[in-house]
Amino acid sequence: MRNTIVSLIAIILGLIAGGILMLGIGSNPIEGYSYLFQGALKNIERIGNTLATATPLIFTGLSVAFAFRTGLFNIGASGQMLIGGLLASAVGLTYDFSRPVLLLLMVLAGILGGALWAFVPGLLKAKFNVHEVVSTIMMNWIAYWTVYYVVPGYFKGDFLETESRKLPEVATLRTPFLSEMFDGSYINLGLFLAVIATIIVAFIINKTTLGFELKAVGFNRHAAEYAGMRVNRNIILSMLISGALAGIGGVAMYTGNASSIQIGILPTQGYDGIAVALLGANTPIGVFFAAILFGILYSGTGFMNAMTEIPPELANTIIAIIIYFAATSILIERFLRKFWKSSSKDEEIVVPDVKKGES
């Protein structure tokens, strides 16, 4: 509850700061924001596109948050997305199964790809204590170059060296039923996967012995070892799950929002995932809504730019400021505490994990 309020206040402060910037360049912030939200939510098609934009972010946000909760910092979601997307595309372009089987295989391939890419940092961390920040950055670049050479080498489009062939209709996550329901937007089955993933991750973290172990290892690996938990296995497992989530994010991105994979681009969603996770206070539900908010901001800016003189870069600045306010939420909390001094005392401790008294 407290976290939610803090995040909300961070968002509001970020929006206010953005509004001040708009005033600074001589635009009307109320008008700006109203177009921003209209752009994201005005009609069913736009809502669909907003959700589609949010989908990969939900996955990368969950990926980063999950790793965070277990004491690991996965900044390799970009690379994991790429490889997940690559494998899924490879399956989609190669096999000719019936749609459900094909899609299932593609998602599994994505999971496999992402997990594989995270396995290496996990293994290095567990066995050799290699800092995962460096190893995941390295893996990002390795993924970048792998896609760079594998796509033109094996899945080249007919006329283009720089992207794969287009996936056949059956091999994309877009379905007529959703596209029609949302009036031709890019919303796709990835969103369902994201909802399911959110629930599963929340469940794992909060309700299962696995989550209990992973968190214990994250907080204090010595104590976890003492208690008989297999620390190395848990570190690797945690990275695998985190990578798998990013991998499905890649599937949603390259076979849902897009239908081919381009070379020479490290998807920004990987880094945005860090921001999403943090704004969502590393809780799965929080991540879900933070990603939707990012979706709204990203997808509403175009319309705001079109309707006003506010330049595109401003929207990114607003997002950045919101993140900064989320980072400085302590300030907000301090303020709230003063404000609510009289209210119950058991909410005073702000370590997100334990607050719920869940485990």
């Binding site: 007919d158 720089t162 175009g302 730019n305 079109a306 595109p312």
Partner: protein, 348 residues
């Protein structure tokens, strides 16, 4: 056409044209509006139209490079009542294919590509024109000019990514060198290892390092068609020129002479293989205002209609060279010379 100032011309254009009722929008391709290439060239043409024809303009930058993101921005322009939309780059092909049906009362101009559903079957609807440039002819001219100017030695080519427009520049350039060697008594060669696609449009460091390697291995002039990679190469060339070496760069897309200035008025840009994006963008807008929108057509801008060429002013080219190149230009126009836009047995 050095980026910066042109942007502002919208505001300080002295003789305000009377307001036309057209709202012109553009969606940028990967890269920024300041890319000195597709985006910037097209946008400058649009700004010129704003200045001279009084249209209202707007560009949007998509968050990524997927069809979904392109279509979203097209939709945004449409909803904001910008119903004349320019899309620079082949990446817009499938997006425009969908948009032309979805927004029937809007008009689309796609540059360097044609609408198709993903199967590469052209489908240019009545509310769309597709615009191509004969980059190979432009490259050819640059090749001839280069050979004539340096007479003998090695040339090199640095491309960005292996996309059609870049490839055609390369192939044309090679044909131009060969033509000059065979007909105009020059001896400029290009080795396979000196023809490369760096793989990105933004790695300036690599551009500089590759250019340095080429120069160190005896290359005198490098044709760059590589965005930011080219910037790195230009930077390296400037550094060397300041140190007294004789090195050259051939620019691309726009007249890059100013970018190559290193001391006083000296520039290392030998010449530039231009494609007149700004002119074309301006022209279609004008045609629309005149009620002559060539909907459904696929236009090719080449030597014949002066859609490509070298800059008017080429301070680094001798008069003989300029004259000889004009001859060649005429011959291309008269189809006496034909330049191939295919790789054939050319390098890469």
């Amino acid at each position: 056409a050095c980026g910066g100032n042109d942007d502002q011309s919208a505001n300080n254009g002295g003789n305000e044209a009377e307001k036309a009722d057209l709202r012109v929008g553009m969606v940028t391709d990967a890269g920024t509006i300041d890319d000195k290439s597709f985006n910037q060239g097209t946008w400058e043409g649009i700004l010129k139209a704003e200045d001279e024809l009084g249209v209202t303009t707007k560009y949007l930058k998509p968050a990524g490079t997927t069809e979904a993101e392109y279509l979203k921005e097209i939709g945004n322009l449409y909803d904001a009542d910008y119903k004349f939309i320019l899309a620079p780059g082949f990446k817009f092909e499938t997006a425009v294919f969908q948009a032309q049906d979805k927004y029937e009362d809007a008009k689309f101009v796609i540059i360097d590509g044609y609408p198709h559903s993903g199967d590469f079957e052209p489908a240019v609807k009545d509310n769309t024109v597709s615009v191509f440039f004969a980059e190979h002819e432009s490259g050819f001219l640059a090749g001839v000019a280069t050979a004539l100017e340096i007479k003998e030695g090695e040339a090199g080519f640095i491309g960005g990514m292996e996309i059609p427009a870049v490839q055609k520049f390369n192939w044309g350039f090679q044909q131009g060198l060969t033509y000059a060697n065979e007909n105009l008594d020059t001896n400029v060669s290009i080795k396979a290892e000196n023809v490369i696609y760096q793989g990105s449009f933004d790695n300036a460091a690599a551009g500089g390092q590759i250019a340095a390697q080429m120069y160190d291995r005896g290359v005198k002039v490098i044709f760059t068609a590589a965005g930011g990679v080219g910037v790195g190469a230009i930077n390296e060339a400037k550094t060397r020129a300041k140190g007294g070496e004789e090195v050259w760069i051939v620019g691309v897309d726009v007249d890059q002479y100013a970018d190559g200035i290193y001391e006083g008025e000296k520039s290392i840009i030998l010449t530039s293989a231009m494609k007149k994006l700004d002119q074309v963008a301006f022209d279609v807008i004008k045609q629309e205002l005149d009620g002559e929108f060539p909907g459904g057509e696929t236009l090719t801008f080449d030597a014949k209609n002066d859609g490509i060429g070298l800059p008017e002013e080429n301070p680094n080219l001798s008069e003989e060279t300029v004259n000889a190149v004009s001859d060649v230009y005429e011959k291309i126009k008269s189809e006496e010379i034909s330049v191939s836009g295919e790789q054939g047995d050319l390098l890469k």
